[in-house]
Amino acid sequence: MDSDIIIKLNKVNFYYGQSRALTDITMSFIKNKVSALIGPSGCGKSTLLRLLNRMNDLIDETRVEGEILFEDKNIYAKDIDPVEIRRKVGMVFQKPNPFPKTIYNNIAYGPKLTSMNTDDLDTLVEQSLKQAVLWDEVKDILNKSAMNLSGGQQQRLCIARALAMKPDILLMDEPTSALDPISTAKIEELIEELKKNYTIIIVTHNMQQAARISDETAFFYLGNLVEYNKTEKIFTNPDVKQTEDYITGRFG
């Protein structure tokens, strides 16, 4: 069991200035599974997600306590370069955010700048776009601006862009909340496909989405981890009453 754990949080507290956003979080994410983080707005689930690739470093006046172990190393240790962590832990954001560059250059941007082996950039671009199931739609317009794509296509492009870095973990922060149902369905199918090769941790406000795509679900409330269980269990017979109340829509 332990060998399946890819990232492990140990008594993590997180502060924005004086206010505590996460309290004593201890949990482990399992390799090649989809883990969903759910909970009402402001419960700390996005904060937790952004802790895992040190994106919270960008915000002034924040503080982390406890440790987050990835490959047996605390990613918040002094000698760890956050840039290295972000190479291995990719991220997809709530709103599609392609660069105002061509489709090709959106994908090639990361690998080119991070001294990855880029002998065959064309192949890498094709591979990544195929993984994100976007290749057939864009293969003839690789040199057109990514800004011309639809929202759903842009989000798949952002997924492809993250995949091009060959990360171990893919973090997704409400990746479908800005998309229409058809695009959402496509992304969900994609996530199902991607978990064969990647560990996916996804924040979602959509309960059905969590139930559909995830293997494990964690319910957060007011900065606390209330329950973390198999998704089936969470949605059929949760251990904690609060979880049940939230899932059935009694509060949140």
């Binding site: 994106m55 190479r87 991220m91 954001f93 660069f99 105002p100 941007y109 862009r161 870095m165």
Partner: protein, 296 residues
């Protein structure tokens, strides 16, 4: 009751339309006044100056104690000084703005620096001129030269460029930075590859103002670069030059024959305006080229 409601509603709609028209009229009038004033000045300069313009006026140096001949050395001098000012002000200004917006920890010190920069923008240009004289010309021994003049003008336009660059950098969506950083791209690469290219059109827009100012200022170059008269073209950046604004000043106040040289004065003004507009035009063309890819 229903009718009353209706008529009241109509009345109030009429009143609101009246207010709207009144307001639109006022703003339209303001715009018109500005356009007329600008057109008037331009018209006045063209009417009075066009007579002096000829091919010889553009390509020949002044003759007969500057009462005849052309203004070629002054045109060239102004172009040199402006390019020099941009070469100094633009990189320095952009670099400062990058530090202030992207790297520096926002706090009291940075706020103080920003206030200082804003104050600098309001300092009269003659102060810059005197500073240039004391520091570049005398202390650094650059003499009255293109170099001293360019440095002084470069410093003069620095606050304008820093201000424009700061605004342009801040306008680049944070999501671009996040996307780049989340790929494991370093902060400097993110700034250089993503933030700066997207801010460049905005930076140039603001810089155009600075360019116009650099080309048109008299006081800063009076002590640092401009010659009263020299028929010789500058051979190095340590040479003195004639410059259009200073030439106009000289002809209009201290020339050998002020009344007789009026047409030359207006001709020189017209050329100055044309030079400034052409430099602006180049900046605008570069900007529109850079903007082609920008859409978010």
């Amino acid at each position: 009751m229903k009718d009353m409601m209706k008529s009241f509603k109509n009345n109030s709609m009429k009143w609101r339309y009246f207010k709207q028209n009144l307001f639109f009229g006022a703003v339209r009038l303001s715009a018109l006044i500005i356009a007329l004033a600008l057109g008037g000045i331009l018209f006045y300069i063209i009417v009075n100056g066009i007579g002096a313009i000829s091919w010889d006026f553009i390509i020949k140096p002044p003759t007969d104690s500057m009462t005849k001949g052309g203004i070629m050395p002054a045109i060239l001098g102004t172009i040199y000084l402006t390019i020099g000012a941009i070469a100094i002000g633009l990189p320095l200004g952009i670099a400062s703005a990058i530090y202030l917006t992207e790297y520096a920890k926002q706090g009291r010190v940075i706020r103080l620096i920003k206030v200082g920069i804003n104050c600098l923008a309001g300092v009269p240009s003659v102060v810059f001129g005197l500073f240039g004289l004391g520091f570049f010309v005398i202390f650094l021994k650059f003499g009255s030269s293109i170099l001293s003049g360019s440095l002084t003008l470069g410093f003069l336009i620095l606050p304008t460029i820093i201000g424009a660059a700061e605004e342009a950098l801040k306008a680049v969506p944070q999501t671009f930075r996040e996307a780049s950083l989340s790929l494991g791209v370093s902060k400097w690469q993110t700034t250089y590859r993503i933030v700066l290219p997207n801010a460049m059109p905005g930076i140039l827009t603001g810089s155009i103002l600075g360019i116009g100012r650099a080309a048109g200022e008299t006081a800063p170059i009076m002590f640092t670069a401009a010659a009263y008269f020299t028929a010789k073209l500058p051979g190095s950046i340590f040479d003195e030059v004639m410059a259009l604004p200073y030439h106009i000043y000289v002809l209009a106040t201290a020339g050998t024959n002020i009344e007789a040289t009026r047409p030359i004065q207006f001709g020189t003004v017209l050329v100055l305006v044309a030079v400034v507009l052409s430099i602006d035009l180049i900046a605008i063309i570069i900007r529109s080229y850079m903007r082609k890819n920008k859409r978010w």
